[in-house]
């Protein structure tokens, strides 16, 4: 008797395993295009949002540091500027 996964939940009978592979035509879809499409969009937006968030937080930290340094230097001469 052939045991299928639906009978017992798991395939436990060694005699039920596949012993040959037979090609089929018009078989069902193995990879869902919708799942791939959604994954691609989610991954792209996650990358982008991560980059934006990282930049935003870093900008905040750098501006705080600039304020601290300007405050410290305000009593001791001209402030540093980027070379343009």
């Amino acid at each position: 008797m052939t045991q299928t996964p639906s009978d017992s939940g798991t395939l436990t009978d060694p005699s039920a395993r596949s012993t040959e592979f037979v090609p089929v035509t018009g078989g069902g879809e193995t990879t869902s295009a919708a799942a791939l499409l959604i994954t691609a969009y989610v991954v792209m937006w996650a990358l982008l949002l991560g980059f934006v968030l990282m930049s935003w937080r870093r900008q905040g930290r750098v501006e705080t540091r600039i304020s601290e340094l300007e405050k410290a230097l305000s009593t001791s001469g001209p402030q540093g500027k980027a070379r343009d």
Partner: protein, 236 residues
């Protein structure tokens, strides 16, 4: 009160958000599904994948020009633009490298092949990654900046090779637009792709702007710290 530059930045951000909203809804609701050989529904990845590749080329070109200008006459602004362009090229490069294999799984049955275009693209992204890593971990000295600039120029030399690799060496990668391509057979597909290019151009501009501003602020911190050390306000 916000400065005029800030107002322009936020205005551009609002326009970009509107264009992306329109693009996503158009791609999912209006653009037709392509033939199964092209990935069927997964072909809709194309409307972001190709513009992301174009945005990487754009950022790579900006990186190359700024790096060359920096090598000729070093300034903080040129260095900041070159550095931010390399960072943006990495982001767009990864967007392309993540979306492409997901389409390939449906169209080709595998995520990756060592096709000439895929290989040259990976190489180019890795060059920009090396520029970013170098600037992040090797310090902010003149020598490091110059070395990163030289790498930025070198990375862009590879970009035309990516573009012409399909024509020169063949491979699996589709050639739909441009020389040798059959084109998009629906006006809705063409419209979606054009909107993708507009959206990615706006996004690349915004990201470059924001990152260049950040890089300039970092340079300013370095100069202020040098001054603070010289005046004894900060310990070395």
């Amino acid at each position: 009160m916000k400065s005029q530059t800030d107002q322009l930045f936020y205005g551009l951000l609002a326009v970009t958000a509107a264009v992306f909203t329109y693009l996503i809804s158009y791609v999912f609701l209006v653009a037709p599904i392509a033939q199964l050989q092209a990935g069927g529904l997964a072909q809709k990845i194309f409307y972001f994948h190709v513009p992301a590749a174009y945005a990487m080329y754009l950022c790579g070109t900006v990186c190359c020009v700024s790096s060359a200008l920096y090598l000729a006459n070093p300034t903080d602004t040129r260095d900041a633009i070159a550095r931010s362009a390399a960072e943006c090229a990495v982001v767009f490069g990864f967007m392309m490298l993540c979306s492409g294999p997901l389409w390939a799984k449906k169209a080709w049955g595998v995520y990756w092949t060592w096709d000439p275009r895929l290989t040259t693209t990976l190489l180019s992204v890795l060059v920009y990654v090396s520029v970013v890593v170098l600037r992040a971990f090797a310090g902010n000295g003149e020598a490091e900046r110059k070395f990163a600039s030289a790498l930025g120029v070198l990375g862009t030399v590879n970009l035309p090779i990516i573009h012409y690799s399909v024509l020169k060496w063949g491979g699996n990668h589709p050639t739909v637009i441009g020389k040798g391509g059959g084109g998009l057979k629906s006006p809705a597909m063409t419209h979606a792709l054009l909107m993708g290019f507009v959206a990615m151009t706006l996004l690349a501009t915004i990201l470059l702007w924001a990152r260049a501003r950040l890089a300039l602020s970092v340079s300013r911190v370095a100069r202020l710290e040098e001054q603070a050390i010289a005046t004894g306000q900060l310990d070395y």
